[in-house]
């Protein structure tokens, strides 16, 4: 009788250990690499979009070099904001 109980508790411990391991490995390296790929383009894309918007508005209003500079800077800010948002999301996921 004692032996089966012993086996059951041991089985439980082993199962819980296995589960812990599984959750650890599923959040493992692969997903971090995915996040790393994500951040780079996030930054660049916003700068590019800002620049394009500035270029189009410049052509509309005929203020050739002015708006493209302003929107390039705004785009860079938006890119940094994107990265911060993504980083916050990652942090939230880990907690």
């Amino acid at each position: 009788m004692k032996e089966t109980e012993d086996l059951e508790t041991r089985l439980k411990i082993a199962k819980s250990k296995l589960q812990n391991k599984k959750t650890e490995s599923s959040d493992g390296k692969g997903l971090f690499l995915g996040n790393a790929f994500k951040l780079g383009t996030e930054l660049v894309a916003a700068v590019a979009v800002g620049g394009i918007i500035g270029f189009i508005l410049d052509n509309w209003f005929g203020t050739k070099p002015l708006l493209i500079i302003v929107f390039f800077i705004l785009g860079s800010v938006a890119g940094i904001l994107n990265v911060i948002k993504a980083a916050k999301r990652m942090q939230k996921k880990q907690e």
Partner: protein, 244 residues
């Protein structure tokens, strides 16, 4: 011709030229490989779900893992409300995954290494999510451009920045997939070219690099499909659960 690393990306027509209202709708190698990927997915999932055994065979096991993987991804990132969009995200993920993986085969064509394909995906998601947000929340959806707790003086600048950040979503989504696939395949081809030009003497070094890169490319092919799908989930989450 064959040693040009960009040659693998050229699109050419297969069969007769089809023109409707001046729009070129000819069947190209890109459409052929999309068709191949779609057929493979269909066959794979049909075989996987044909016999529903309690102890699954390999194909059934893989298709069940795929299903639960995507299902978990959606419920983790977008919550329960996103459940109705499971079919869309699943088909998106598996289509990109199969296109990437079919592209890894020698002599094949990588559909996702063309920005027009990825941009079409990304714009479809972007426009769809925006419409969804407006349908669910009405004009309150514009609140995502106005973060809470910002002083009134800064509000116009913050709004412009948020709008740029919102507009950059399809660009980053499409450029990431396209750039990763194209860069990887170009690199593989360049190293392959080194093997030929260095010959038997020193060709072994780039050959080992090529083998290692192929492994990396398979990882990237999977990861990019995953990242694409998970970002779709995140954008969907922003549209479904408005909180700022």
């Amino acid at each position: 011709m064959a040693s040009n690393p960009m040659h693998q990306f050229s699109v050419y027509k297969i069969g007769p030229e089809i023109k409707i209202n001046g729009v070129d709708l000819s069947f190209t190698n890109a459409s052929l490989f999309m068709l191949i990927s779609a057929t493979l997915i269909l066959l794979f999932l049909l075989f996987g779900t044909k016999e529903k055994k309690i102890i699954p065979n390999k194909v059934q096991l893989i298709s069940e893992i795929l299903y639960s993987f995507v299902s978990k991804m959606i419920s983790d990132t977008a919550g329960k409300k996103a459940k109705p969009y499971f079919p869309f995200i699943f088909s998106l993920f598996i289509f990109i995954l199969f296109c990437n993986m079919v592209g890894m085969l020698p002599y094949s064509f990588t559909v996702t290494s063309h920005i027009i394909v990825t941009l079409a995906f990304a714009l479809f998601i972007f426009i769809g999510v925006t419409i969804l947000g407006f349908v669910i929340h009405g004009f309150k959806y514009l609140k995502i451009f106005v973060p809470s707790g910002v002083p009134i003086v800064l509000l116009p600048i913050i709004m412009i920045i948020e709008i740029i950040s919102y507009l950059s979503r399809p660009v980053s989504l499409s450029v990431r997939l396209f750039a990763n696939m194209m860069a990887g395949h170009t690199m593989l081809k360049v190293f392959g070219g080194f093997v030929i030009s260095l010959g038997l003497v020193a060709g072994w070094l780039p050959l080992t690099f090529s083998v290692a890169l192929t492994g990396l490319e398979i990882l990237v092919a999977f990861l990019q499909a995953y990242v694409f799908a998970i970002l779709t989930c995140i954008y969907l989450n922003d549209a479904l659960n408005l909180h700022h």
